[in-house]
Symmetry: C2
Subunit: 329 residues, 2 copies
């Protein structure tokens, strides 16, 4: 039997607090060598869009094996009235190899990305952080705020959002104020957002830096989850240079895909060894923030282990709560 979980089922089963726990465990198992993230397969021509096939496995107590198939077709909204990004995740029983669950993957993708920031906030932000500044009011950004909120154990008080699209920012304000009960303020400029914030999240589609490192304050924690190509970045070299701690969801993935780190490395401003996987901090192998003045950076490009962990969480809970539809193949 294969359990089929729709987007609605997934929404019903998944919350950010649990997603943070599972993504944290995934990062931990990666550092302990109990998880494997193979190089994902990208398929384009002769298709008019991109498909990424992302399998992964996590051992330890999680024992999760799954593959996400995600497609990015930019003309879908216009041509077919369909979303640009579509995703499904196939969960296997690690003991038999059998596919036991198939679920919608779009909400999981947004949640696991928010959860990655949540893990970074939990380990790297100042304990007394209260104010978040976020670039973008898009779908990903909403789950980022939720990730920060729960990464701070619900102690986030205010979020300042900046988006070129004013209507989108206003909608974001209404929705998140209701969802999290925190104050949401709309910034008039990107730079306004940098003043008196404890945490900065960059969740844009920009391929050039969003602000200058000259303008960031001591003590801030920055999470960048947009830009994932060697020549693209959300953070400038000055920001990277000024930071006291450079972390990654997975160091190897960031060294392959994140211009935020690759460009300053190529410029000779930092060394590869300056970057550490957050799993090394979670497992206590490396030290995190040392002082309240430290600037800490987390860069995540999205790896299959995050999807695998959260998909396993959703599947296990669906089985427990008897949610979804069982199909005999």
């Amino acid at each position: 039997m294969v359990r089929i979980l729709t987007k609605q089922n997934v929404a019903q089963l998944l919350n950010m607090q649990d997603a943070i726990k599972y993504v944290e465990e995934a990062y931990k198992q990666l550092t302990l060598g109990n998880a494997l993230v193979p190089q994902r397969i990208a398929i384009t021509d002769p298709a008019p869009g991109l498909t990424l096939v992302m399998p992964g496995i996590i051992g330890g107590e999680m024992n999760a094996l799954a593959t996400k198939i995600v497609s990015v077709y930019k003309k879908n909204p216009e041509k077919y009235n369909m979303p640009t990004v579509l995703a499904k995740i196939m969960v296997q029983d690690i003991n038999t190899g059998d596919i036991v669950g198939i679920m919608d993957g779009s909400l999981i993708t947004a949640m696991r990305t928010g959860a990655a920031t949540g893990v970074s906030v939990k380990y790297l932000a100042r304990k007394n952080s209260k104010v978040l500044g976020i670039y973008s009011a898009g779908v990903q950004a909403r789950k980022q705020v939720s990730g920060v909120y729960w990464g701070l154990n619900g102690n986030l008080e205010k979020c300042i959002v900046y988006d070129l699209n004013k209507a989108s920012a206003e909608e974001f304000r209404k929705e998140l104020q209701k969802e999290l009960g925190i104050e949401i303020q709309i910034a008039k400029s990107g730079n306004e957002l940098l003043k008196s914030v404890d945490i900065i999240v960059a969740a844009t589609t920009s391929i050039v830096p969003l602000f200058s490192g000259d303008d960031i304050e001591p003590g801030v924690h920055i999470s960048s989850i947009g830009a994932h190509a060697p020549e693209a970045r959300e953070l400038d070299s000055k920001t990277i240079q000024k930071a006291n701690l450079l972390t990654a969801g997975l160091k190897e993935a960031c060294l392959a895909e994140a211009g935020d780190y690759i460009i300053p490395i190529n410029e000779g401003l930092i060394k590869k060894d300056d970057i550490i996987s957050i799993g090394e901090i979670i497992t206590g192998k490396k030290q995190g923030r040392i002082s309240d003045q430290d600037i800490t950076i987390f860069k995540s490009v999205g790896i299959s282990a995050q999807d695998v962990a959260v998909a396993k969480l959703v599947y296990d809970r669906a089985t427990l709560e008897e949610i979804g539809q069982d199909i005999a193949f």
Copy 2:
């Protein structure tokens, strides 16, 4: 909506004649550069078995995009009373990226492998071929006979089978005699099978040669679909040396995985350039069999394009005949 197709649905929708047409088209599009077979991803530790993730895309008129997830867990039968090999195939709409069909992949795997041999027989065996000798009476072997039968347009008259397991050979005889209406003879020894046959098929789990090249007759066509590791082979170096034509399902795949070719290349007996993809013969770029005395060889290690093509065939027919179950995700 996603169309779910069970093993029974697939069996109802798929026949060998169509599978041969679609696999032939896949080989053709590969040679024309309209298809892509990315390196498959293999996942093992910390799982107690192997998972292969095999995406592929075929353009041209077929326009097929799909991923097979196949697992090989040797302890499944004993520990869980489940098959060793389990497979499912996810079919995407090439125009939107959306997963529109999910189907059982075990029968498709056997059929596409039989169809590969069928394509090779169609293009390389002597036109007057009547007698097949086959090593193994296993599941794969049955579909091989079907592939040869339809590759010869139903003109196969007799099949001589050799298997160490006598009961299995007897069952094979009864089943295939009924299915194809041809004479099935059980050989007492492996070598007995080599006499007076027009076509030889090797479909075993052996990793060492099944016979000596000294014992094969002029004019024979050989298809080897077992052994798919650089150090494993079903055919010995003498067989390869004696052959007039060395073909592969996909040359690059065989040069990476097929000991049948890799070992004699390493021994300096043949060169890489002596091997051609069968697509080059299908498209008329290279010549096939020249005389009735030629010994022709086809080696196939199984590539995703075969699965993708046959899965597309099954999906399209299911849509047309309204078979399967539509699930909203």
